[in-house]
Symmetry: C2
Subunit: 106 residues, 2 copies
DNA sequence: CGGGTATATATCCTACTTGACATATGTCAA
DNA sequence: TTGACATATGTCAAGTAGGATATATACCCG
């Protein structure tokens, strides 16, 4: 039941700044947030590099433009699952995803 | 709406053998399955190495023993999200997760 | 044999994620 | 300005992953 609290915290307002210290996040919560952020950024970069619009990516992913915007915007309502699927959709390999995941973000 | 089909396929029976060729999976679908598998294995290893029972891990994760069993068993109903949270719960760092994610599995 | 512990599997109900849609903002060009 | 295109944001119904719980199987030891 601690995941609930986490969701709550995240929902509040993380998009800004250095996530860890600002809110009182456990290292694990922080890691999760950082991963999301790192994947979001990689997604946007890869999409742009591929010359795709959000709409085009959405279609390839079987999703909608609005959700792609949320993916890239780091919206708390998106899961790592979808983020990763999106990366695969823009041509990332498993290794690429792993690399993106570990990427420095702060 | 292609994700649906994927779910369907996965639900059928992948746990066995070399995933990719057996069912007709797209490279992306295969990558996803491999990632899940790789993370599952790392999770089990780390848990055992830490001398934890599924129940203990479940408590630390804020989940239940049954779900941990599914996480480790590669049940199609578990998300990468939870898998990653579980890894963090057994002390994995972001880098560790990335490494586990890319890990060879076949 | 019986009890204890660890894990696997099944079912239920809730809460979350998701796709779809509507709309807002912004940019560029005719 | 107007229209076309790209992206951001909000809402919501529907499907699904999640936690809880119960039960099954397996192992070990007394």
């Amino acid at each position: 039941m601690d995941a609930k609290k986490r969701k709550r915290l995240e929902a509040a307002g993380w998009a800004v700044g250095d996530t860890a210290a600002f809110l009182k996040l456990t290292p694990q919560e922080a890691a999760l947030v950082e991963m999301r952020l790192a994947l979001s950024r990689s997604l946007r970069e890869r999409r742009l590099a591929a010359g795709l619009t959000q709409t085009a990516l959405a279609k390839a992913l079987g999703s909608s433009q609005s959700r792609v915007a949320k993916l890239e915007g780091g919206d708390p309502s998106v899961s790592l699952e979808l983020l990763i699927r999106a990366l695969l959709s823009v041509g990332a390999s498993r290794k690429d995803v792993a690399h993106a995941l570990a990427r420095r973000v702060a």
